[in-house]
């Protein structure tokens, strides 16, 4: 009898550990497995896919008469806009101005990529001459002010700010009021907004990232709250249309219509999609390099705007 009890105890204990680990794996671990490449995970984009002057590159290539040969402005920016500013460099800069070591751009390269968070710091500190990003966060503006730097923001195109859910989520549309309600904690269950009876997990990005700054602006001062038990249900997240549909292209997620309008190029161009944002060329007002303004003028010209459009964004003009 004692032997039976001992074996049962050992068996039950083993089952408890195995059961607990399987639950942790199914509830948490499995959800965080990143299906993208190492480079995508580290940098949010595959740099070599849109590398300028590379014949296999997916960066847009156009012919233009405007060329820069010296005093090249160092450009940097957001992951979602890297294909665009890489294409600008491809069209206007000499080939030897870009040095890529297979993983990163070397310090002497006129094309850099550090993503929004670091790009804003870089333009303020003088590391980059022009950065291509969405609106800055309050902290990024504050940093510029502390350093006594005035930044100029020139809109060069626009894009839809989109909300995404898992493909299996039956919800196809949310109103602006519902989205604000979800992120403010008013709606915590998908059934409150026309979906299944399951918790809503409103996920956010790190502060200072381009999409997080746009989201905070969209919330218009309403504080965002997390749903403590959201991980038990289905998530909703946000990003930029082109980044979701083209750069990442993950078939496991879908973009939602907002106020009944789907975020496709036609609805963004016509102004029907309700949440569009401008993206900017940002530079220091006191930048002495005259090529900065020349380059931006060219970006706003027909040739520059052709790159914006062919890269998948909506031209500003």
């Amino acid at each position: 009898m004692k032997l039976f009890q001992q074996i049962s105890t050992l068996f039950l204990l083993t089952i408890c550990f195995v059961g607990f680990d399987i639950s942790v794996y199914n509830l948490f671990t499995k959800r965080y497995i990143n299906s993208t490449s190492e480079q995508m995970q580290a940098k949010s984009i595959e740099l070599d896919k849109y590398l300028p002057f590379d014949e296999n590159s997916e960066a847009v290539k156009i012919d233009t008469d405007f060329k820069l040969t010296e005093n090249l402005p160092v450009v940097d920016g957001a992951a979602a806009l890297y294909p665009v500013f890489s294409a600008f460099v491809n069209a206007v800069y000499p080939q030897d101005s870009v040095v890529f070591d297979g993983e990163n751009f070397t310090p002497e390269s006129s094309l850099q990529y550090t993503n929004t968070l670091r790009a804003y710091k870089s333009v303020v500190d003088g590391g980059a001459d022009i950065i291509f990003c969405a609106k800055p966060s309050a902290e990024q503006l504050e940093y510029a002010e502390e350093q006594g730097v005035e930044l100029d923001f020139i809109p060069i195109g626009h894009e839809a700010f989109v909300f995404i859910v898992n493909n299996d989520n039956p919800v196809e549309n949310l109103t602006v009021e519902q989205i604000r309600g979800i992120y403010s904690g008013k709606y915590r269950n998908w059934k409150d907004v026309g979906g299944d009876n399951t918790a809503i997990d409103p996920v956010q990005r790190i502060e200072g990232s381009g999409s997080q700054s746009v989201m905070m602006s969209f919330m218009d001062g309403i504080p965002m709250k997390k749903n403590l038990f959201g991980f038990m249900g289905r998530a909703v997240g946000f990003s930029f249309r082109y980044y979701v549909s083209e750069i990442v292209g993950n078939g496991g997620v879908k973009m939602l219509s907002v106020n009944g309008v789907y975020p496709d190029k036609e609805n963004i161009s016509s102004g029907q999609y309700p949440i569009t944002v401008d993206f900017y060329a940002v530079y220091r007002k006191d930048n002495p390099n005259s090529n900065v303004k020349l380059l931006i003028d060219w970006i706003l010209s027909d040739d520059g705007q052709e790159i914006v459009e062919k890269s998948g964004y909506i031209p500003i003009k």
Partner: protein, 45 residues
């Protein structure tokens, strides 16, 4: 089963269980730090 053997097996199971759970939690935290919103949602989140 002798009590001494039982205790030994019990300790081995406890240690193995604690180590595997700890490693799984650490691995999950590592993935959490690297996972993008899009992957998280696509995975069923």
């Amino acid at each position: 089963m002798r009590d001494k053997l039982f205790r030994r097996i019990l300790i081995i199971i406890l240690i193995a269980g604690a180590v595997s759970t700890g490693m799984l939690v650490a691995y999950t935290y590592y993935l959490h730090e690297k996972c993008s919103i899009i992957s998280y949602i696509a995975n069923g989140g």
